[in-house]
């Protein structure tokens, strides 16, 4: 493949419940520090969730913060951090050649709920419904806020893809670069979901909301006593560039997106389909031109639902074999499920492994589910390994959407 078609990650801005930049996030993953706590939410009281504590005023004025949404604020923080991290000469970069592609699980729930909550005190008189509601809830809103903040005039939109969205933001950015639609992609995903009570209530009523006396232990993928999802917010935006452009400006390269795949289960609204997950991983491997044996680390999607974790384990075993040596971990055990951000955020937390050869662990496994046993599932302590060349990142979502991204260590 020529260097015009090879797409590399040259910068990252992120915020997660346990870190507001890559160094802090990575350090907290390796030291086993959870970012999950408790929050108060409308109608439900105290719930377990993961919130970020970045300073929104670092890149936004107070008025913009008041006008926009939490997802927009997260996106603005991540986009600015990514650009700084990339060391691009952003000032002189042609802003019409920058595209913003952000994965979202949902958007608008928070803002709509808040308005309904507000007009309740006025006996549901819609004269008190905010005129800001429409710009806050259009589906492109988080990406659009980034354009307003940074003066970017290229294309911007979000990609609604449930919890597969973070990966899909990256995949779409790669595709737009290959099509020469843009010269720089700000790609990834964002989530403001903990600020909507509805998602908590729905997960609770379907028996999929995590509960635990200690919040930091609530997110426990692969543990026999897992009982559901911890809803979290977060964001991760990467600067993606053609390898040719990155080399020309001597950019730092975190990794090269070697392969990807997106497919659909076409089988159920919420239940996962291990056959389609397996097909998606196989397609991504084919796209990367490598075999399962070439993958060193799998960052699993597992959200700590009983059925979801089992389905993914089954799919991985189908692709990699029961006796595979691949190292397997899970990031949600630390930060909960950051929804639209999860794919990009969890992938980014693993990319430093190319350099330090350490695989971060999965925490909160006290009693491993026999259906989730792998030879090299990294449990509770990080592990140093000999080499890391390829990382596979799973992200799956409701309505049966699967996404897989494979990133390889950059070599000329």
């Amino acid at each position: 493949m020529n260097s015009e078609a090879r797409i590399v990650i040259t910068g990252a801005g992120l915020t997660s419940p346990n870190g507001d930049n890559l160094a802090e996030f990575r350090q907290n993953l390796l030291s086993g520090r959870s970012g999950v706590g408790k929050i108060d939410t409308h109608y439900m009281g105290e719930v377990i969730a993961g919130l970020c504590d970045f300073d929104p005023l670092k890149y936004q004025k107070k008025k913009a913060l008041r006008r926009g949404t939490r997802a927009g604020s997260i996106a603005i923080y991540c986009a600015n951090e990514a650009i700084i991290d990339s060391n691009l000469d952003f000032f002189s970069f042609d802003k019409s050649r920058i595209g913003i592609y952000l994965g979202i699980t949902e958007h608008g729930n928070v803002e709509t709920e808040n308005e309904i909550y507000n007009i309740k005190q006025y006996d549901y008189n819609v004269d008190f419904w905010s005129h800001h509601h429409n710009p806050r809830t259009v589906a492109n809103s988080p990406a659009g806020e980034v354009t307003l903040n940074l003066g970017i005039t290229g294309p911007h939109y979000t990609l609604g893809a449930a919890c597969a969205a973070g990966n899909i933001g990256l995949i779409h950015g790669l595709q737009m670069l290959r099509l020469k639609e843009v010269d720089l992609a700000l790609a990834g995903g964002v989530s403001e979901t903990p600020h909507t009570f509805g998602v908590f209530a729905a997960f609770k009523n379907e028996g999929a909301l995590a509960s635990h006396t200690e919040p930091e232990k609530a997110s426990r993928p692969f543990d026999k006593n897992r009982n559901g999802i911890v809803v979290s917010e977060g964001g991760c935006i990467c600067t993606l560039e053609r390898l040719h452009d990155a080399l020309e400006r001597d950019a730092k390269i975190y990794g090269e997106i070697a392969g990807y795949a997106i497919n659909s289960d076409a089988s159920d609204f919420i239940l996962p389909n291990p056959l389609r997950q397996m097909e998606c991983m196989n397609s991504a491997l084919k796209s990367a031109g490598i075999s399962a044996g070439d993958i060193d680390i799998i960052n699993t999607h597992a959200t700590a639902t009983v059925e979801g974790d089992k389905a993914e384990c089954k799919a991985i075993k189908e692709v990699f074999g029961d006796d595979s040596n691949v190292y397997i971990n899970n990031t949600k055990s630390f930060i909960g499920h950051t929804m639209g951000a999860a794919g990009a955020l969890e992938l980014m937390g693993n990319l430093p492994s190319f350099e330090d050869h350490i695989v971060h662990q999965t925490i909160n496994i006290d009693d491993l589910d026999p259906e989730c046993v792998f030879k090299n599932l990294i449990i509770n302590e990080p592990r140093k390994i000999d080499r890391v060349d390829n990382i596979l990142n799973n992200s799956f979502g409701m309505l049966g959407i699967n996404s897989v991204v494979i990133v390889k260590k950059y070599r000329e």
Binding site: K61, K62, K63, R66, R67, Y122, D127, F128, S130, H131, H132
Partner: protein, 83 residues
């Protein structure tokens, strides 16, 4: 409310809507939007605050009467004298 109380209330509302601006030195007889960075959505925030705080409904035809501090006070004084 007296005229001065209304003036003070309007300034408080504008400060809340424009938290990055210093509105304490707004000239009373010049259009507010010519003195601070205020767009039409911000202006509608003032209308909404009057509705929420005091139940005052400003018809769209009267919006221009709220363009300066002085005109706002003059317009609102009779509407708010019992408040």
């Amino acid at each position: 409310m007296t005229g001065e109380e209304i003036r003070s209330m309007i300034l408080e509302v504008i400060q809340e809507i424009l938290p990055d601006e210093d509105v304490s030195n707004l000239k009373p007889d010049i259009r507010i939007r010519d003195q601070v960075e205020m767009d039409s959505m911000d202006f509608l925030d003032i209308i909404m605050e009057l509705r929420k705080r005091y139940g005052i409904i400003v018809p769209e035809d009267d919006y221009m009467k709220l363009f300066t501090l002085d005109s706002s006070v003059a317009y609102l004084e009779p509407l708010m004298k019992e408040i």
